[in-house]
Amino acid sequence: MKCSTKWYLERWQIMTLIRRAEEAVAEMVEKAEVGCPCHLCVGQEAVAAGVCAALTPEDTVWGGHRSHGHYLAKGGPLEGLFAEILGKATGCAGGRGGSMHLVAKEQGILGTVPIVAGTVSLAVGAALAYKMRGEKNVAVAFFGDGTLEEGHVHESMNLAALYRLPVIFVCENNLYSSHMHWKLRRVADNLHKAGEFHSVPGFRLDGNDVGAVYEATRKAVKRAHAQAGPTLLECRTFRWRGHVGASYDLDVGVKRRGELTGWMTQDPIRRVADYLIDHGVADLAAREQAIARQIDRAMQAARQAPAPSPTRLGQFVYAAAAGANAETAGANQADGSNGAIPSAHRQAALAEVLCAN
C-alpha cells in the first residue's frame, strides 16, 4: 500500500458511506417501502472508490443497473440517490429513473442505465468529444462481467482504440451475471484479455484492494492523457447480495454459500479499516456513527420529499429548445398534448376541434 493514511481514510469514508447507504436501501426493499428494482454492490465498494479517486470532477463516469456505488464515489448527493430510489420529485432524476437511472451532471455522472452495455459506447462518444475539443477529461465506463458478452462492447473497444480515445473500461467481475456463474457462460476465465484483439491493453486486478484499483486507474488516466487510447481494467470482486433486491441469493436457488463466506473474509472495507487501525487511526467507530447520522438525515429528507406530480406526466419527453421556458417543457409533447392525463386531454382536444367548426 503506497498511498497515505489520510488517503486511505478518505477511501474508507466513501466505501463505508456506500455500504451503509445500500444497507439502508436493502432495509427499505425488505419493508417494501421501495418498489423499483435495486441492485446492490455490497462487497464491491473498492472498485468505485478506487477508480473515482483517480478522477477529476470534470471526468465523467457511465454506469449500469448496479451503480449506487459509482454515483456516491463520484460525489453524487446522497439525498438525491435516496429520493430517486423512492421515486420522489427531488430524486437525482426527478423520480423518473429509480435505482437504475442515476445522474448528477455537476459531479460528472452523466447517466446509468440497466440495458447491459448500454452506456459503454456512450462513454466512448464522450471521450471522442473530449478529444475533439482538446480537453483533458477522461470517460469511464463501469460495467459487469456479463457486459463483455455483448457484441457492441467489442465494437466500442475497437472504435476507442482506433480513434485513441481517453476512455477507461472498468469491468467489475463479480463472477455472476445475474444468477449465472461465469463457468456457465464462458470457456475460459480471461476477461482482462477481452481487449487484446482490439489493441486495448487489459489488466487483472484485485478489485477488493482499493489502492490497487486506484493505481491501475491512475495509469489508465495517464495513458488517456498521453492520447495513447483506452485501457481495460478487470477488477475481481464479489457481490454479497443477490443480483437484485436485498437477499443474498441463497434463497433463490443460487448455491454459493461457501463462495460467499470466503469472499466475505475479503471484505474491501475491513481491509482498509485494518490498515487504518494499524496506522493509528482510532476513531473509526465515531466516524461510522457520523456516517449513519448522515444517512438517516438524507433518508428522512427523501421520505418527506414530494412525489412527482401526475400533472407533469408528459414533461421532458422532449427537451425544450434553448430560450424556451423549462416549466412549459411539459407541453412539448409530440402529439401536441401536455401528457398530463392523456385520455382527458385527448377528449378536450377533440372537443376543441369539434367546437372550432
Binding site: T60, W62, C92, A93, G94, G95, R96, G97, H101, V103, K105, L110, G111, V113, I115, G118, T119, V120, S121, L122, A123, V124, G125, A126, A127, L128, A129, Y130, M132, R133, A139, G151, H152, E155, S156, N158, L159, L162, Y163, Q315, F316, V317, Y318, A319, A320, A321, A322, A326, A329, Q333, A334, D335, G336, L350, V353, L354, N357
Partner: protein, 349 residues
C-alpha cells in the same frame, strides 16, 4: 431562385452546419466514398477534415452509441446510416438510450443528435437494402422523425434537426436525390412539425410522405385531367406530425387519401388515417384511403419491383375510390370511375 438537386441541398446543409458550429461532426459508414451517400456528402472530408468527418468501421450499434455519448458531452453529431436496413443494428441505442434520456433523467441530460438514414429502395437491391422503416421510429416517444421530399426541405429540415435539442431521425430517399428545386444559398431552417400544402384543392386531400408526397402531386395532376381538384399535403415531419394542417384540409374537402412509402399494417398511413377519423369525423364522407406498400418484404427482380412500389396512378385510384364511396352515399354518379378502375385493374394484373 438558385436550383440545386436534393442531394446537393443535403450536402450544402452539412457544409454550412460544419462551417458555422465547431460542435458539429459527422460519423458513420461511407462518408469518404460516393458509393454510399451519392453526392450528398461529397468531399466533406476534404473540406472539413477527416477528424470531423469520421468514416467509421461497420459498427452501427457502437457508432450510434458514440454519437449519443458525444451529444451528451456537448457535441452536435450527425450519425449516418447509408441504408436504413443497417440502422436496425442500432435500434437499441436509438430507442433505449437516445429517445429515453431526456425523460428518464427529468431533462437533466439531453441528446441533441441527428440520426440520418437513407431509404434506398428499388434497383434490385432486395429486402435488406430497401426498407422504409420510419413508422417503427414514429412510434417512439422522445424521437422526432422528418422526411423531406424537396431540395428546399432537404436543406432546411437538416438544419432544423441539428438545432433541435432532441434526437431527430432524418430520413432521405435515394429516389429523390436527382430532383431539383429552388434552394436559397444562405442558411435557413424549415420548422419541425409543420406540413406543407403543395397544392390547394377543394375536392379531396392527398397526404404524402417523402417520395410519396412527390407522387401525390403527380396524382393530383392526373385527377385534374378528370376534373377533380385535389389538395396535396407534404407531411415533411412524421413526428410530431402536423395534425392541424391535415385536419383543416380534410374538414374542408371531406375526403382523404394517405400515401406512404412504408408497409400498410401499423404504418404511418394507418396512424394518420386514424387521427383524421377522430379530428374530422363530422366532415369525413368516406373512409380514409391508404396507399402503401403491401405487407410483403421488398422483392429483388425488376418485374416484381414494378408491382411492389405504388405510383401516382395508385394514389389517383384510391382517390377515385373515396370519391365513388361518397357519390354512392349521395347517390350521385361520379364521372369516369369505371375507366379509372379499369386502368387500375390493368396495372395490378
Amino acid at each position: 431562385m438558385r436550383q440545386l438537386s436534393y442531394a446537393q441541398a443535403i450536402r450544402e446543409a452539412h457544409a454550412q452546419l460544419l462551417e458555422s458550429d465547431p460542435r458539429v461532426l459527422v460519423l458513420g459508414q461511407g462518408l469518404w466514398s460516393p458509393w454510399y451517400a451519392g453526392s450528398s456528402l461529397e468531399n466533406l472530408d476534404r473540406d472539413f477534415g477527416k477528424d470531423r468527418i469520421l468514416d467509421s468501421p461497420v459498427s452501427e450499434n457502437a457508432v450510434t452509441g458514440m454519437a449519443i455519448g458525444a451529444a451528451l458531452a456537448g457535441m452536435r453529431p450527425i450519425v449516418f446510416h447509408p441504408r436504413m436496413d443497417f440502422m436496425l443494428l442500432a435500434v437499441d441505442p436509438i430507442i433505449n438510450q437516445a429517445a429515453n434520456w431526456s425523460y428518464l433523467f427529468a431533462g437533466k441530460v439531453t441528446v441533441p443528435l441527428v440520426i440520418r438514414a437513407v431509404i434506398n429502395r428499388g434497383g434490385e437491391q432486395g429486402a435488406q437494402h430497401s426498407q422504409a422503416l420510419h413508422a417503427m421510429f414514429m412510434h417512439v416517444p422522445g424521437l422526432k422523425v422528418v422526411m423531406p421530399s424537396t431540395p428546399y426541405d432537404a436543406k432546411g429540415l437538416l438544419m432544423a434537426a441539428l438545432e433541435d435539442p432532441n434526437p431527430v431521425l432524418y430520413i432521405d430517399d435515394r429516389w429523390l436525390y436527382a430532383e431539383t428545386g429552388g434552394v436559397p444559398a444562405e442558411a435557413y431552417t424549415v420548422p419541425l412539425g409543420k406540413a406543407a400544402v403543395r397544392r390547394t384543392g377543394a375536392d379531396i386531400t392527398l397526404i404524402g410522405t417523402s417520395w410519396m408526397a412527390a407522387e401525390s402531386l403527380r396524382a393530383a395532376a392526373l385527377l385534374e385531367q378528370e376534373g377533380i381538384d385535389a389538395e396535396v399535403i407534404d407531411l415533411r415531419t412524421l413526428k410530431p406530425w402536423d395534425r392541424e394542417t391535415v385536419a383543416a384540409s380534410v374538414r374542408k374537402t371531406g375526403l382523404a387519401v394517405v400515401a406512404d412509402s412504408g408497409w400498410r399494417t401499423a404504418g404511418a398511413a394507418a396512424e394518420i388515417a386514424a387521427e383524421i377519423s377522430e379530428l374530422a369525423f363530422q366532415e369525413l364522407r368516406a373512409p380514409v384511403g391508404r396507399v402503401t406498400l403491401p405487407d410483403v418484404p421488398a422483392p429483388t427482380s425488376r418485374e416484381e419491383e414494378k408491382a411492389y412500389y405504388p405510383v401516382a396512378a395508385d394514389i389517383a385510384a384510391a382517390a377515385w375510390m373515396a370519391l365513388e364511396w361518397d357519390a354512392q352515399r349521395q347517390a350521385v354518379p361520379v364521372p369516369n370511375v369505371t375507366g379509372n378502375r379499369k386502368q387500375r385493374a390493368a396495372r395490378t394484373a
